[in-house]
């Protein structure tokens, strides 16, 4: 799935042309949108090796002024078209509201720029399909910023799944709740579930076949602020996401149950982010009879909390984007990954409107 671009199929030649080995200048990047998330991109691209933060683009002059003061050598502009017209610009990183991802990314790809776009990649599957096609045709890197895929904790989870340490996957169960409506243009699924769907896409190696979602919009005229999403798979796996913008407490806890081991991933726990629980036998071996009516209050085996190296995901993410441009590689979280997540979000939103009626994903 995450293959390297080969010369025949996707033009390493073109890449080579763009970035000849004797290239001496860094990749010039513009960050588009500097509201909530953009400042992180600005900060990270300004220190990513091989990258040069060339420009910052936003429609609000006061935001631009603030960053101009901090980064006096960086160009600030509200004219996106002019920015794209600059042949010195190699790539854009888009951190604007979801509804604008598509037109901004399409324009950038059309102008021959590499594109990194915030999650969710687009507001619809149709838009996503078009971006993926355009990137393919134009031989440009299209990367979606599925940030969690670049954290050490999620990479560790992916390794545990891939090496079959957990055994057959039984469930993925995530609670992602906090106080604060961070998005005005999308519902809580597109704002919060997108993180779990990106983690699942990256780490589980399976894709849902259908979904059932429920939710509620408590504020008149606003999007759903609470949502629950079940994903069905062809295998024995079931996934459930639990999203809430109106929670008095902040929780970021994912439980992944396997046939051999189970893990709890708590992203707010500073010292024991991952806990892996042994059971000593598979569920099948234990059998229903031995599990039945046992007063197993807490656990049956040892627990192990592997050390997770600290490090900011985004730094790794921006470095990966630059590396993919330089080496002509397909990103770990490419347009296809972005599209798979958008497919689920679109189906889930449809199901939520019908109070949980199952909707096929593909």
């Amino acid at each position: 799935m995450h293959t390297t671009l080969t010369p025949a199929s996707s033009g390493a030649a073109a890449s080579s042309a763009l970035f000849p080995s004797n290239r001496t200048r860094p990749i010039n990047v513009a960050v588009v949108g500097c509201g909530y998330w953009g400042p992180n991109l600005i900060r990270n691209f300004s220190t990513t090796p091989g990258a040069k933060l060339m420009a910052i683009c936003d429609l609000q002059p006061e935001r631009l002024a603030k960053f101009k003061a901090q980064y006096p050598t960086v160009e600030t502009t509200s004219d996106y078209a002019a920015l794209l017209a600059n042949p010195e610009l190699d790539a854009v990183a888009i951190a604007t509201p979801v509804s604008t991802h598509f037109p901004l990314a399409r324009a950038a790809l059309a102008a021959g720029k590499h594109v990194m776009v915030e999650k969710p990649m687009t507001a619809t599957v149709a838009e996503g399909l078009e971006l993926v096609a355009l990137a393919e045709v134009n031989q440009r890197v299209l990367m979606v910023d599925h940030t969690f895929a670049y954290t050490n904790a999620v990479r560790k989870i992916r390794d545990m799944v891939a090496s079959n340490q957990l055994g057959e996957l039984l469930y993925y169960d995530s609670v992602r709740i906090n106080l604060g409506l961070f998005q005005s243009d999308v519902n809580v699924l597109w704002d919060l579930a997108v993180h779990d769907l990106a983690i699942m896409d990256f780490a589980l190696g399976q894709t849902p076949v259908s979904v059932s979602a429920t939710g509620h919009a408590h504020l008149k005229g606003q999007h759903e602020d609470i949502a629950y999403l079940t994903c069905f798979f062809e295998s024995n796996l079931i996934a459930h996401l639990h999203l809430n913008w109106l929670s008095p407490v902040k929780i970021r806890r994912t439980i992944i149950g396997g046939d051999r081991q189970m893990l709890v991933y708590d992203d707010l726990e500073p010292s024991e982010r991952l806990k892996v629980y042994d059971r000593g036998a598979s569920i099948e071996e234990l059998g229903a009879e031995s599990l039945r009516r046992q007063k197993i209050d807490y656990r049956m085996g040892d627990m192990h909390a592997p050390y997770i190296t600290p490090g900011e995901a985004l730094q790794c993410n921006t470095a990966h984007f630059i590396d993919c441009i330089e080496q002509g590689r397909t990103p770990l979280t490419d347009g296809q990954a972005g599209l798979r997540v958008v497919r689920i979000l679109e189906a889930a939103t449809e199901s939520m409107k019908r109070r949980g009626e199952p909707v096929s994903v593909f």
Copy 2:
């Protein structure tokens, strides 16, 4: 809803006849079924004022022998029919597998005994309707042991809702997961969701109109071991229950969001079982704009953890049953309450079979 029986409608006269004020002996109770939960009933009825633990009934002789040693003066028997034929017996408390609740309770009511039955009250709505009708006709107390309704924490929650301290209810959100299959005859909804449905029935003052449920049975030939249940109401309230028999960690946490305050009820937290969060303004007053894009990481106002008096729920529960018999009162958790919960469980099971398709409750 929780009215006292009046003379005209439900026979205080009959009650009076049964328990004349000059009655000098205690209420004679038999506990039926002494597997997982029965021992708690035995222990509590043996010390409930006004009650006398007269008999223990179970089909397994070794269980009976064990209790005979501990309670030498209590009759132990495997003959339920003979037990019911004893005119000295006033009441039975039934703690057997769910599928047997109905025949055992029906026989007891038919024999003129008062009945306390474990949750869920019956395995079907039809059975529940019949029990309720029979208790009404025979003027006997029919109480379902919705244990949590008798805890000080849940009573406090009920008071907070009733006094409008939380404001308009926005959501009820519960995670009830642990390791261990405690039931062979029912799925995880009937085993675990029943607790939340009983709490909701007791404390929220609202009844769901439809449900959507999803789940999965990971062990071949067994019931669903994971389930997710959304309840829709006519109001702005949405409820969601999260049940899992295969979790590596034990969690019992309920969040109730109101327009004014929100509370977190953690039944495993020894010292701060209830936490109540202020926001200083209603959600409507705050408005989407002020909540939007605020980096509200944790909370906006004070938190208050009211002192919850310790005390075992079941003691209070058995005392309430005896009191209802003596005073001819309707239990707080009567047959109607038991029936309301069974209606939801039946609809949820139906929805779960259809992968989340919404099913009407009433």
Copy 3:
């Protein structure tokens, strides 16, 4: 230190005479004192194999009446002398105020009874020496109920120390605080520090050479309710105990730092009572330079929480007492262990009076 009694030195012959192999009756035990802790002894001796709870002795008739109702076949008495005069009685378990341990235990040993006495064993070192000598002379078992030594968690710690898994011991650091004055006749050291001193005596294999203690009595005319105790050893080990009867929160957390691994033992943590932390290198290998100014926020290696089998310590404790009587064995927590703990408590109380001035222990 914890050797089995040999025939020559300590009279297995005498033991054999007392308990001939053809003995068919259980060991008859009397529990003396049934206030705070006694009921636990009563409950456990009533189900300990090989033991028979023969009598309960207390000065308060209402307490005796309560237990008579629960254990109708057990003798209840206020006449300790008469109890000891009964040749059928083999052993007494003493759970009275500390100041009475000595006279009660001395009388029992003098009467040829085996003795289990609550911690601390005696109120002074002089008393402890006399009890130990008397037990030796009379060839009777003298066991101090250092309860924690019989828990699975502390046994696991002892194994880890003994097998050098932790490496050279660097520190033992315990916080044992809660709300409530449980003792009127002793200060908080004798009430709470005794637990840690018993754990240290059992698990660390080292004995302090001197102590420094500080504390304060906040209530006029009462004993110290807060105390801090440092124990100095001949080795590189330092121990510190932190005791408080006036804490708003309950904490029972011990950290044991070793040169190779460190562990946190939290007795209130239901699922992860022991956590063992790796460092990947010894402190000496790491060296001051590598540790210096590192921003090591949380940890450097994996954490492992071994599964601790549930089980009540006291059941194991009473069984061990019976076993020692039957087999003529020296208890794991014998009179010498009790005496070592009392030596430290006496020295600590002396140091506390002098505001921390160091006091030699032996």
Copy 4:
């Protein structure tokens, strides 16, 4: 204690001369030392209103080069004498090893500069006395960076103590442990206890009369890495600090017990940094009898967690320094406060050498 400088006694005239009301330029500040803590000062002074970060001084050229890249307009220098000779420079902030605080601060004061110095202010009481005298004579602001005094949590604690909300203070009990030797030139008392002593000096309104300290240096030739410090007061208050550089877990928890309320301040708890516990009655009213042998497991009254406004202490700290310079005010944490803390540290180090022998502070 924290009075404003008055014209007569301390030269508002001089201040006025230095900073005439028509002054139009900001206060020029140099940060001296940019190792562990200095970068925080640099970052904060660069955005403190009324301040201009004029220069950064360090002996290591590579450090200076790094900051020059980040702050191209700021002067970087290794020549402290030349820096002080610049009449444009108004103030220095010193974040160098403790042993150098005194010579650097003395030179700056002698050169007529205002001085902010990291905690602990000096390495000896004698040095502290000299700095205080010099600042007084030269009419310059001498502020010690007791950072915690500028946090919202500690300010809230100070308010609660000052308003007698806690009642009579009974104890201050702090555990401040983590992994990592942050200092090579001082022991763990001077590195970690200094924070608690600064908090106590700021919030409690009482000063210890004597101390008893114990500790141990586990690494050959290094300073003590573990220390325990008891402070005795003339009142009913006792304080105890618990410091450890070799802990596998990081803890920052302070319990302050008052006669009326008690609070737990956990600096690592993101959402409930302060918890205040009611008891409903004073300790004196409750009396020993009612507290005795009560099985008070956790608590007796409500708990309240006041909302603590987020905000970085240091920003407030640097702003306060600038404000004191501009307005001729005495800092909340002035040289006298720094000196009081150094007095305790000096006495504690002396006591620690004598294994806990009490040492008088003043």
